[in-house]
Symmetry: C2
Subunit: 686 residues, 2 copies
Amino acid sequence: MIDLPLQIVIAICILALALAAILARNLLAQDQGTPKMREVSDAIRVGAEAFVKRQYSTIAILAVVLALVIFVVYFLTGQSDLALATAAAYIVGATCSAVAGIVAMYVAVRANIRTAAAAQTSDGKALDMSFHGGAVSGLIIASMSLLGVSITYIALGADPLHTPFVIVGFGFGASFVALFAQLGGGIYTKAADVGADLVGKVEAGIPEDDVRNPAVVADLVGDNVGDCAGRGADLFESTAAENIGAMILGVALFPVFGVNGILFPIVMCAFGLLASMIGILCVRGRDGADPMDAMNMGYYITAAISAVFLFFGVQWLLGASAGWMYFFFAGLIGIILSVCFLRVTLYYTDHHYRPVQEIADASETGAATNIISGFSVALETTAIPAILIGISLLLSYWCGTQTGIANGGLYGTAVATIGMLMVCAYVLAMDTFGPIADNAGGIVEMSQAPDAVRHRMDKLDAAGNTTKALTKGYAIGSASLAVFLLFNAYMADIAKLTGKAFEVVNLAKVDVFVGGLLGAMLVFLFASFAIRAVSKTAQSVIEAVRVQFKDNAIMAGDRKPDYAAVIDITTSGALRNMVLPGILVVGFPVIIGMTMKYEALAGFLMVGTIAGILLALILNNGGGAWDNAKKYIEAGAHGGKKSEAHKAAVIGDTLGDPFKDTAGPSLHVLIKLLATLTLVLAPLFI
Amino acid sequence: MIDLPLQIVIAICILALALAAILARNLLAQDQGTPKMREVSDAIRVGAEAFVKRQYSTIAILAVVLALVIFVVYFLTGQSDLALATAAAYIVGATCSAVAGIVAMYVAVRANIRTAAAAQTSDGKALDMSFHGGAVSGLIIASMSLLGVSITYIALGADPLHTPFVIVGFGFGASFVALFAQLGGGIYTKAADVGADLVGKVEAGIPEDDVRNPAVVADLVGDNVGDCAGRGADLFESTAAENIGAMILGVALFPVFGVNGILFPIVMCAFGLLASMIGILCVRGRDGADPMDAMNMGYYITAAISAVFLFFGVQWLLGASAGWMYFFFAGLIGIILSVCFLRVTLYYTDHHYRPVQEIADASETGAATNIISGFSVALETTAIPAILIGISLLLSYWCGTQTGIANGGLYGTAVATIGMLMVCAYVLAMDTFGPIADNAGGIVEMSQAPDAVRHRMDKLDAAGNTTKALTKGYAIGSASLAVFLLFNAYMADIAKLTGKAFEVVNLAKVDVFVGGLLGAMLVFLFASFAIRAVSKTAQSVIEAVRVQFKDNAIMAGDRKPDYAAVIDITTSGALRNMVLPGILVVGFPVIIGMTMKYEALAGFLMVGTIAGILLALILNNGGGAWDNAKKYIEAGAHGGKKSEAHKAAVIGDTLGDPFKDTAGPSLHVLIKLLATLTLVLAPLFI
């Protein structure tokens, strides 16, 4: 018999999938615009599907190899009873993650054309199309994650004291696929973008998204495979890993809460999914209104409803403790933190505020000062988020201790993480809206639609840029909380394996300190590889386009550019270049753990995570700020388009591209991957 | 009666000062070139002296305030017996550091003109002049540091079990002054450099160091106040802090070695000073030879003699342990690490190797790809150094445990640090040689000397660029080892104050983890402030020059530029902008320590240090690589000067300027300052 909480989770997930189906059916029934639009959209769709197909084939090979490794590790370390279960959970996690990414991409490449078509008549309707496209992805990804964890839990016996340690395989599978999805997609999207810009705007002097640029379709494909599939996989594994980590912590509290404490995380995420559904249905496009207003409103509704659900959920499942109200407060801290992160990210990446304006000002004296100024802003953006994370961890820990339960502090931080991730499905909808709007803008541009249509799309496109920056802030914030949870799950796992307490990671020991140093170094090295991968792949794109431009036939309009050739080169470049950094981050921690053992590896993991959080903030926010400084100038400041300031700002923006869309988001995934990796391969490190 | 080891230290220091005096006398007796050269040189000297005077006045005020704070802290925390001694040691340390910086600058601004004059006839002689100028600084700084620690130790009673804890004040004084010296000088030098380049090369289209550029003298002043005074103060406090930290660790081994274990560090540094003197005397300029060959030879001689001295020193002072040979091995690891760091830095910043060539290649597609590629290289440069530091720490710790002494492991890492710092005086000579050669090049250029002279100076200038990059690598490497020592000194200090063991910094505790997160964040925030300070001050420089250029009289040759006005603006800008970051890094750790207490502060310190080491590597090596990619193109690659690739490379180089000469070197100082600060203010954190 399945526990009531699990029944509720499954019911809510089915409801969410039903809503997604309705929204998708409605979306697909919409007008697909002019033949010219369809032509562009078809090219994007074909390119994206081809990339994703090849990408996931590569990932599948790597994933199967790793499944065998996991099986062998468990088998050889005398845990043969767990070998099959863990490897199976891993495969399921990897598969679910892949499906989540593919679905996000599938929907996005169909929503873009409908959005472009809707923009012919109404900007409100265009918002509805693109946001509903995002919502379909968000709902499917969130419910897949919950269903995956729940069903794996049930399939593995639903033994409250044992199963949470086995389903870590699911989390690792999700992380592993997410890493390659984000990294490969990220390299693709920015190599195409940078390549298209450099060879188009800079060398040939044609505008962005110009139909004569052979790399322009690859650029539009990139939005789908990088932003949609990538962030989808990222947040999929965030919820999966956080749920599993919190379930493991729940094991320690079994004497107090029974199975309720273990199922609490997934129930609350399901409640959050319900809140997100309501929030999504509240978003309505209105002609002439700022699209951000509607989406912000939906967000606040989701957050408020989540808070109410949180209250009842805590009362129901954790009411066994006298001070359960403090767990509610801890969860509230998580919800509030999610709002704070959005605001801070907005401050650093929106042109209404000092940072972006400072970068725009500095563009007047050229590219060098634009970049110096932007880099200074990027470094600065670590401050407030780090303080917010610190306060949230300390406060939610304190709340946990006030409940009067032994080890309650740690569970307090878990509840805060759960609170933050309750709004996840809504955030995903907002996030996927971005690339859909961006793509629709590209389609409108390339199909040479009338100015009014372009103008409508520009507004939506700008909102998409904002939401993309915001959701990255949310992703890194929630990852920061989730990893703290996962550290403790790792320590609980090691304690279970060794049969003795593991509660101290002593950084004053030389091996732990060295572990920490190497962990932080890995983060920087990974970012280096990710950025270089973009640079290399972009180089191939540039060369491919130069060949096509050589005889001037395209520029003269005598021949159509060969979009597919560029897409093909970008695809193979991105896939080739994602393998080395991917293997590095899986292999290096394993070597450290096997040679220096579990305490040093914990130092590696924790300091590496701190470095990863901060570097991701730098890369994401720096990139966002450069992007918007350029947009701010394009809107007329400092001489507007074609001014020297604009030229400088374009260079800054190009630098920011691999920061914010390749290395930064890949770091979110990386820090969670490190945590789930150490959890799953723990038997190797003792 | 003073212990024999101390007598030897003092004797060697006096010998070193005597050698410095002879070299200085000989140097000052040399020809001072043409009147035109003297005119330029005088302007540089006056500007540098004016800056340093104003800078140290500002620092003095801040230092006195802090001395009062230290006194009050000790007084109010019931340690009134230590209050006066600690504050006095602090004042002495601060004063010695200031004197060291001022001397370095004093010598450099007089050696530059002699070098320029010598270059009129012989490049070998020009090398002698500039290297001897550097040697005078190096010898004085190193012996001041040793004398300062020794005399303070004697003055405070020379009680082996007690005095080491009091002289931490000396180390903090040195760090505090070094921070502002490096930061203020670093802001000055790069604001002048960036400002001069942007307004001269980019806007007015005149060459570097052109006599018509009103900012050009400020740029040359900057080399002296930033590179000479700054790095002088940096390595002064490195040796001081390391000696004090190692003496504190020696206290724990008192039962084994007696006072010998406590005096071992300063004796070995004195032996290293002797080795450096020999190495310095071996450097002889030869016409037509590569100056790097002579300097490298001197370096290897110094390292080899140091190794021999190390052997006898260990046998003499640590021979009481059966396994003393292992301490010798640990020291050898330090010496070898210093060589490795120089090689790695060379690999990443020299145009003969892949990284710089990669950046130069990327310049062909513009500034954006130049910077993306450079940034990727910069991030990559963390890998090998971090692995080298890790291996050195682990190996020297292991050596220490093999000596059979309890706590010997920690002392093993101390001996490795000492080994690395033995060559310090020689490295300082090489380092100060750089800005002297750079300045001499500027004087030759501005005095419009014949081409043959310029050509001779160009070669020396290029060697100076290399040594500057190498010594920065050495500085960060030695700082990395030294801080590990200082952590343990901090923990010993806390244990002494609280009367109970403090051996665990548990990163798995939420407050320690948050401390670590905030420590790493502080490093990034500080770098942000330092870079922004350059950007702001450069802006003032640009505006000041534009005013002078306005009526075209200077460009037409009708009026001489007003160099002093620009120097004045740069001076006040640099001083104004150094205060905020300086106060931030002193104030923030104190707040953390007072609110979160000593264990969380230890987490703050350790993770902050890891982040600081890695970020300093990124900034130093990235900046060096961009610089040399530009020089590589200027030498003819990728179209040479005036090509599009060159324009792109200039932008990369400008970005690299504040990285490698302001933020990076300031981070060296910062990480040691954090360590000495926590040591001195420890009573506040319990």
